[in-house]
């Protein structure tokens, strides 16, 4: 292993693989080798079946907008209101907070994208999927 923590003081020891993947524009999730459940954010064992045997897998990053709000007040210095914040439910199950560009509605299908940030790893965001049918 590299001395990751010394090179990039972002995140924590458990989330390092997530942010390493983000730097490659990949969405990484923990998957349990025993029961197959996915989980996010990372934990030291599987919350579904209690197994310690977890692996990191690359998610296709597809899911649906589970909920959404339009924010009309300033929260961050570099984020000009109004803007939408969404909660995405990935096809694997876990939910992630995000932005969707261009805007979507609850129930719309989306796919992950990555927004570059100065001095920090790329941030997972989402964009609408043209094909709105569920996978499979």
């Amino acid at each position: 292993m590299s001395d990751h923590a010394l090179e990039t003081p972002y995140g924590d020891p458990l989330s390092a693989p997530f942010w390493d993947a983000a730097r490659r524009h990949e969405l990484a999730l923990q998957r349990c080798l025993h029961c197959g459940a996915h989980q996010h954010y990372p934990r030291p064992f599987c919350l579904t079946c209690n197994s310690l045997h977890l692996e990191w897998v690359t998610s296709p990053g597809t899911g649906v907008i589970y909920s959404k709000t339009t924010v009309h007040v300033r929260v961050l210095p570099d984020l000009e209101p109004p803007y939408d914040v969404v909660l995405i439910e990935l096809d694997e199950g876990p939910r992630l907070l995000g932005h969707v560009e261009p805007a979507g509605r609850i129930g719309d299908r989306v796919i992950v994208a990555f927004r570059e940030r100065p001095g920090e790893p790329p941030l997972p965001v989402f964009r609408p999927l043209a094909d709105t049918s569920p996978p499979g």
Binding site: P9, Y10, G11, D12, S15, W19, H40, Y41, Y66, S67, K68, T69, T70, V71, H72, V73, V75, L76, L79, Y83, V85, L87, P94, R95, L96, L97, G98, H99, I106, G107, R117, E120, L123
Partner: protein, 385 residues
């Protein structure tokens, strides 16, 4: 085994701190004066107190309050369950008093959040070690309103709940506030006023949000022997429960079900009552939607039917379920943590001393606290002796 029939527990004293804008006191002095007043109702003084349960009174809050009042307790609790902490403290005090681990418990809180301008919508620190800073803060979801808005939006999508129905809750609270001389906002309010106020986080408008005031309050919880000293009619604690669901919004198991589903089941189960037995309800109204979700999770209506339930003034004076009878956090006062004021109002209603807003012959009252990002809930069932 808890046997509240053999070892009944009572709230025998309640007092608000100074409310609104408080310029001439500190949080500790506000707490001290309210404690003195609540203890006087209970026929007691600080010398009788052997339990302290506080939230938001600084680091190791019960320790700071204990020192300020020169109380060295044998039961202490500074658990942070947000605004629901006080209903949870009644739960804890109920168990502690019934188990004879303390006799006289003080529960309370005071804040000068308004005059000291302590509110901010940002969250977390710049330290990206924290889970919040990594996975939530960068998306600019204002705290707490953005979280409540996102939960409300999902409910509206799933069940067809409307902004008009949410506004009905603010209108009901204001109608009660008009009858409460201590309420901050008493002017008439309509659904159109709420919908016409500024959108902060869709679907929540400014008038869907609680006030930001100074204030707080103190309660005295004690046993049957001590309750005999009380100057006011003791109100019995017959049920209590608590729970929490999540810290980060993305981890909330189901956006349409709050921790109130568990806290309510526990409290109503202990009390052996049904929602239909409740004469007066004091739900945490940090936002209009907080009330709607509580009505469903406590079982006053089925899941998804909260919107229809609150229509036609159901919660307002003269409605089928008197709720937010002080005017609530929406129109009376909201010092950042409302739970203690909900309990005080429920006690006053059950004593029959609520003046123009008195619910006739109220026998059973429920205070339901909600805290964090709709994360925590605690429910207390009170009964007139």
């Amino acid at each position: 085994m808890l046997d509240l029939g053999r070892t009944p527990v009572y709230i025998t004293g309640v007092a608000e701190t100074a409310l609104g804008e408080v310029l001439d006191q500190t949080e500790l002095s506000m707490f001290a004066l309210a404690a003195r007043e609540a203890l006087a109702e209970a026929g007691l003084t600080t010398h009788d107190v052997d339990g302290i349960l506080v939230n938001y009174m600084g680091e190791e809050g019960s320790v700071q309050v204990g020192e300020y009042l020169n109380i060295q307790p044998r039961y202490a609790d500074s658990s942070d369950l947000g605004g629901a902490a006080f209903e949870a403290f009644v739960h804890h005090a109920l168990l502690a008093v019934a188990a004879q681990r303390c006799e006289v418990a003080l529960i309370g809180f005071a804040s000068r959040q308004r005059t000291r301008r302590l509110r901010a919508v940002g969250e977390g620190s710049a330290d990206t070690y924290s889970l919040t800073a990594q996975f939530q803060t960068p998306y600019g979801l204002p705290m707490p309103i953005g979280h409540y808005a996102m939960i409300a939006a999902r409910h509206m999508h799933q069940y067809g709940t409307t902004a008009e129905q949410l506004a009905e809750i603010a209108v009901a609270a204001r109608a009660w506030a008009a009858r409460n001389p201590r309420a901050w906002s008493r002017d008439p309010l309509t659904v159109a006023d709420v919908l016409g106020s500024r959108l902060i986080c869709d679907p929540l408008h400014k008038l869907d949000c609680c006030l930001v005031t100074d204030g707080g309050g103190v309660l005295v919880v004690t046993n049957e022997a001590r309750a005999r000293d009380a100057a006011k009619p003791p109100v019995r604690v017959i049920g209590a429960g608590e729970s929490h669901t999540h810290w980060h919004l993305a981890q909330m198991p189901d956006l349409t079900v709050s921790a109130g589903a568990v806290s309510g089941r526990e409290a109503f189960g202990m009390a052996g009552i049904l929602p239909s037995d409740v004469d007066v309800l004091e739900p945490y109204d940090s936002f209009t939607f907080t009330v709607l979700l509580a009505l469903e999770d406590l079982g006053f209506c089925a899941k998804g039917e909260g919107g229809a339930f609150v229509e036609k003034g159901r919660l307002a004076p003269g409605g089928g379920l008197p709720a937010m009878t002080s005017g609530g956090g929406l129109s009376y006062n909201h010092p950042g943590a409302l739970g203690v004021l909900l309990l005080i109002e429920a006690v006053r209603q059950l004593r029959g001393e609520a003046g123009d807003r008195q619910v006739p012959e109220a026998q059973v009252g429920v205070a339901h606290g909600v805290g964090g990002m709709l994360s925590t809930a605690a429910t207390v069932v009170l009964a007139r002796e």
